[in-house]
């Protein structure tokens, strides 16, 4: 594994990097790195460089600008990249929401019942 591949793997769950969004997408679509690179229109050797880009900014204008910059720099299919990133970001939001919900559920379960509740009844 090249040093760049190693580092790209290391940041695969770091939301600062585009790699985290691509990782979410590839996982949901069960794509290997080669298949993901092929889908985006680059070689598998170029993929780590794409993964090590900063994640696109969320604001509408900035998002399109960032996607175009990344696509032009690595000769990717802009439409595909936009689709993949939107899909990946939606998955990230879903995961964040479900882990937050799981956290609240656990916290609610841990909370002691109010003093006037009958035994065994939880709020």
């Amino acid at each position: 594994m090249s040093p760049l591949e190693h580092m790209a793997r290391r940041v695969a769950n770091d939301p600062f990097f585009l790699g985290a969004i691509l990782h979410c997408y590839a996982e949901s679509e069960q794509l290997t790195p080669a298949a993901l690179a092929n889908y985006l229109g680059c070689s598998v050797e170029t993929l780590p460089q794409v993964q090590l880009c900063r994640a696109p900014r969320a604001e509408a204008g900035a998002f399109t600008h960032d996607i175009e910059l990344i696509a032009n720099r690595f000769h990717l299919d802009t439409e595909r990249l936009m689709e993949v990133v939107r899909h990946g970001q939606a998955l990230q939001r879903l995961r964040a929401a479900s882990s937050a919900a799981a956290g609240s559920l656990l916290a609610a379960r841990d909370r002691p019942p109010p003093p006037d509740s009958p035994p065994g009844e939880t709020p």
Partner: protein, 207 residues
């Protein structure tokens, strides 16, 4: 070994990190990662190359996420990154040492309880590497201090390091036999104090 970017190339890459360009992080990492890891491994050949790679990654991650942490007016970029990576490497080694020592003491207790045999602490390869690195760090530190000392103070430092800091030994080594006993005592105290103070100021351990 691939070369680190020149100062000008590095500054141009760093300036891009301060803009909104999302490809700047990738270009910065591509330019620095392999040469920085190789440079660290060249400086510390006894260390596992993976540790050097991860330390280089740590330094680059910190900078691309917070590019304002580097001030071009204060230090050259290559020097800053090497210093940052060495710091990360030392932290990793310290953590690893603690982990290994915990594991080792647990293992020794287990062996002792089961067999009752005498316990001989054997260093694992990683502990050997850590000790090697610590010794190397101490040697480098002493060498830096030594360069700031006068020839007489260097002799004094050598004797102190060998545990030969008695007055008679210092007097003989420094050729002060012609001085009176009181003067010898005064001069020995002064030179020992100067050397100790310089080491302490440089951040060294007390002698």
């Amino acid at each position: 070994m691939s070369a680190l970017p020149t100062h000008e190339e590095g500054l141009a890459l760093h300036e891009r990190l301060l803009t909104d360009d999302p490809t700047a992080t990738s270009d910065f990492i591509v330019a620095f990662l392999a040469p920085l890891a190789a440079f660290l491994h060249h400086q510390l050949p006894h260390l596992d190359p993976h540790l050097c790679q991860e330390a280089a990654e740590d330094a680059l991650l910190a900078l691309v996420k917070k590019p304002t942490s580097y001030n071009p007016l204060r230090k050259k970029l290559n020097g800053y990154l090497v210093m940052s990576a060495r710091g990360d490497l030392n932290n990793r080694l310290r953590r690893e040492k603690k982990h290994q020592q915990n594991r080792q003491s647990f293992h020794l207790v287990e062996v002792d309880a089961e067999s009752g045999k005498s316990l001989q602490s054997e260093e694992t390869p990683i502990l050997q590497m850590i000790h090697h690195e610590e010794q190397r760090g101490q040697r480098e530190f002493l060498e830096r201090c030594r360069r700031q000392l006068s020839p007489e103070e260097q002799v004094c430092l050598d004797l102190l390091l060998q545990g030969k800091g008695q007055r008679a030994e210092l007097v003989a080594a420094l050729g002060w036999m012609h001085l009176s006993a009181a003067e010898q005592e005064l001069q020995v105290k002064r030179i020992k104090d100067r050397v100790k103070k310089r080491l302490k100021r440089a951040g060294g351990p007390p002698l």
